[in-house]
């Protein structure tokens, strides 16, 4: 039993580190985790939920705004959404999404339609990937907790 927990913990740690190493997450996520304490046990999950909801909403907005069939492309609206998304992603530490948003924003300012569409697709893929990855991580966490273990603090350095 103990060995199982230890193994789970090991797995969790490795997985988390891999997420950092692959650039999905950054320090801000660590900070976020630090904010979670007994007073707000599901803080990270809540924030992430908000974030992904935001993503869905904003990507939907942008897709609509970039849809040429409805008429002209409203770059300013896209820009606003990207800005929001960038803010959100930097707050949760979604590094890749954030990086994409920066590029996206540049394209948007340059009114590069092709670039925008490409970025939008990438962002869409990226946040979904992140979501599954984090889902996995939370599942692991849950397993550890269920097994009666303590979720280890992962030191990224």
């Amino acid at each position: 039993m103990n060995a199982g927990i230890a193994q789970l913990q090991m797995q969790f740690r490795d997985y988390t580190i891999s997420l950092y190493q692959q650039g999905f997450l950054d320090d801000q996520f660590t900070e976020l985790k630090k904010l979670q304490d007994d007073g707000s046990p599901d803080f990270v999950a809540e924030v992430l939920l908000l974030f992904f909801e935001d993503c869905v909403k904003l990507i939907g907005n942008m897709a609509r705004a970039l849809d040429k069939s409805t008429g002209t492309v409203d770059f300013s609206q896209v820009g606003a959404s990207v800005h929001q998304l960038k803010g959100s992603s930097s707050s949760v530490g979604a590094k890749r999404v954030k990086g994409l948003c920066v590029t996206f924003k540049e394209y948007c300012e340059a009114q590069n339609y092709e670039g925008c569409v490409r970025c939008l697709q990438q962002v869409d893929i990226e946040y979904k990937t992140l979501k599954t990855k984090l889902q996995d991580m939370f599942n692991l966490e849950k397993q550890i907790v269920q097994a009666g273990g303590v979720v280890p603090q992962v030191d990224i350095d």
Partner: protein, 1039 residues
Amino acid sequence: MSLLHVLGFGVKIGNFFWMLCCWFVSWFVDGGIEDKSSLLAGSVGDPEKTKMTTMKKKNKMWFWNRISSSGLKIPSFSYQFPGSVKFNKTFWRNVVIGWIVFWVLVSIWTLWYFSSHAMEKRKETLASMCDERARMLQDQFNVSMNHIQAMSILISTFHHGKFPSAIDQRTFSEYTDRTSFERPLTSGVAYAVRVLHSEREEFERQQGWTIRRMDSHEQNPAHKDDYDPEALEPSPVQEEYAPVIFAQDTVSHVVSLDMLSGKEDRENVLRARSSGKGVLTAPFPLIKTNRLGVILTFAVYKRDLPSNATPKERIEATNGYLGGVFDIESLVENLLHQLASKQTILVNVYDTTNSSQPISMYGSNVSADGLERVSPLIFGDPFRNHEMRCRFKQKPPWPVLPMMISLGMLVIALLIAHIIHATANRIIKVQEDCDKMELLKKKAEAADVAKSQFLATVSHEIRTPMNGVLGMLHMLMDTELDVTQLDYVRTAQASGKALVSLINEVLDQAKIESGKLELEEVRFDLRGILDDVLSLFSAKSQQKGVELAVYISDRVPEMLIGDPGRFRQILTNLMGNSIKFTEKGHIFVTVNLVEELLESIDGETASSSESTLSGLLVADRQKSWKNFKAFSSSNGHRSFASSPPDINLIVSVEDTGVGIPLEAQSRIFTPFMQVGPSISRTHGGTGIGLSISKCLAGLMKGEIGFSSTPKVGSTFTFTAVFSNGMQPTERKSDPQNNNQPIFSEFRGMKAVVVDHRPARAQVSWYHFQRLGIRVEVVSCVEQALRYMKTGTGTVNMILIEQEIWNREADAFIKKLHKDPLVQSPKLVLLAKSVDSSIDALSTGIDPPIVIVKPLRASMLAATLQRGLGIGNRETPQHKGPPALILRNLLHGRKILIVDDNNVNLRVAAGALKKYGADVVCSESGIKAISLLKPPHEFDACFMDIQMPEMDGFEATRKIRDMEEEMNKKIKNGEALIVENGNKSSWHLPVLAMTADVIQATHEECLKCGMDGYVSKPFEAEQLYREVSRFFNSPSDTES
């Protein structure tokens, strides 16, 4: 006389010309400038119209006043001119053309006027000459006529009245010859007697010749030269005859001719006897001479007739006829010869009895100019009319003078036109240039703006990635690295930091250049700032072994009001330079009041090497401010008058570095100028720092100067004006009481400084007395010991310079052993650098406390506290990690977070909650405003800047407005001071949350009333820095 006339006319013209000029100028000044709207709008090409409107507007009086005074106004009008009127090229061309046309007309008129005058003159001359001649001719004719009449009386008396006759042909001819001078115009006289047919025979017999007729030779005028009287036929039978019986010798050939037989003569004779007056024939060729002549005939009567006798009576009473021959041609010639100027004038005499066919009596038909004068000649015969026609022989001369005058006028007018034209052209050109300049200026300004923007943008763009680089490097340094790697990373980070500071400098320079740099006005602690700057350079100075020291005069107030950041910047620049170029010796910063220096300046003697901080020679400090305006007034009476609230600081940074080469000293404050190209390579830097410092000093109403001696060192001095930040009550109290409460534990302590260098001792004294420690300065150890023995009160510390300690430590320790003091004081060593061999010496006594210079209050306090083992009360609180302090600061605070981004909101809220704050969230600025309407219970607000609908700036502005309103109400007593606090005024700390940390954004934040900004996501340290500015720790507020 004509010259006088011309002169008068010239004066007249000149006057007219002047008036015209005046009028033109006045109209120009008036119409061209004051009424420019009408001028430009209505009638650019029609100056006349404008002139009229202008004229109408002003009354006549004004106009004349204007003319008389406009001459004086000309110079001034050129001043009011620029900018007031847009010059129109066509308008001015029209003016010039109009002017020229006008003057051409004027000059033509002048020419005409003069020539007509001359003509008139000529006419008058001609008339007077002609009349004169006519009168003379007439007079002489009359004289002749009178004489002939007198002769007729003579004949009537002596020929007919006497019997036998007293006159015969011989007597007559002799008499007439001798009296011919009496008849200047007659060539001869003859007397014909009236003979009726019945008396013919007897008469012929008596005379001895027959009466002959004269027709034949009248019909034969060709043979005038071979005139033969004998060839004439005897007169045919007539009713009566008038044969000539007496004749003057000149006309003796007419004797015996019947006068009635000649056509002209007969008519003459008949007319003469019926009228009883002298009668003239028409001119006709005379007998024999065949010259043109006129015969005057008088009738001789038998008795005196009454003047009203009828013609019939006269005919009956007729006895004979006396005729005088006038050879007009020769006579007139003679007459004219008597008068001068025959050459200039041409005279013709005509018989105009038949006015349609005048008979020329004298003069050739030479054609001359059209000018002709006709004078009537009255020869006493009413039946015949004569006239004299005179003409000039020469054509009138060219009117040179009028031509010259008009030409001259024209030339002057043309010159003036040229001047006007040139002026107008020049003005237009200048205007065009001005416009061009304006355009260029605008362009340049635009370029400047663009430059600033570019600089700002580029700097920002560079800074953002640089921050990334620096952050990454920072993180990299925390990873496991070997020594070489660590060194590389450190170098990279240092370079990055240098780059960022360089960018900041460039930004500063750009800002100063565009005049956008504004100084803050906040209270600050000058000593604290100097301590900060000192600590900044302490590592470097220790590493180099250069002594770094600060001395601030007592008279400088604790708190000043000004821009600490910029003051610090100047200081950092100067000290940075000093430390860069100083390898040994010292860097000494002194801060004094200007007044203080002025008082002591005269007493100060030239510095010897011993009196400086490190014992090395320094550049003369006084020289560095000798060019300051504040000092430059004459000796003794310096006009440095400072208003009481102003604090005039003078700050010197003295070093013992390489100095500045003489040739480079002049360009030291020029941006981007360095001593030489090699300097930037060996020492780095942009050369912009001093230039910025100079600008900043200028902004602080101060000056900057330096004096430098190569190989000895440099001293930079600057002045700055601040306001006193002390309350008047605070100022009066003992300066030692003003020291920060942290150092209160040292109050009342006593220390002895052992130092033989007064300058250095003074620095030590300054720093220790700041802590509240009373300090006595002695020059050597012996003295110190003596003082301790004799002095009153206990001495807590002996402060010994490392230099002295190294020299005298053994002796000192020995002495101390030999003669132990009652309460052994703590030994404190003042060391230049950490690496010193103190430990080896410290045997037998308590290891001395080592204080590594530069001395600064906080460090001093900490070291002493540690060394003396006192006052640990406050340290933990301040030395704890920021998170802990943050917790203290934020615990229980009610904070509003405004962000449109849910995720951000949640994260920020989480972060603040973690520090124990009571967080309220708001998704929009509008909602935030409604929440923050005073009175409310919030302690702070974190505001996102970029939000839809209402951004952070605007929201803050609105909040500030509301607060102000509330404050006003409180002031007026309208609103009660609310329950939740003893707030007398509302000012909620509002902090911006922003992802980009641009300087411009920061400024924008401050401008709209925000108190600071924190970057997103929150960093504990930054958050602490910002928050601590507003919140005192809870314990503070409670106490």
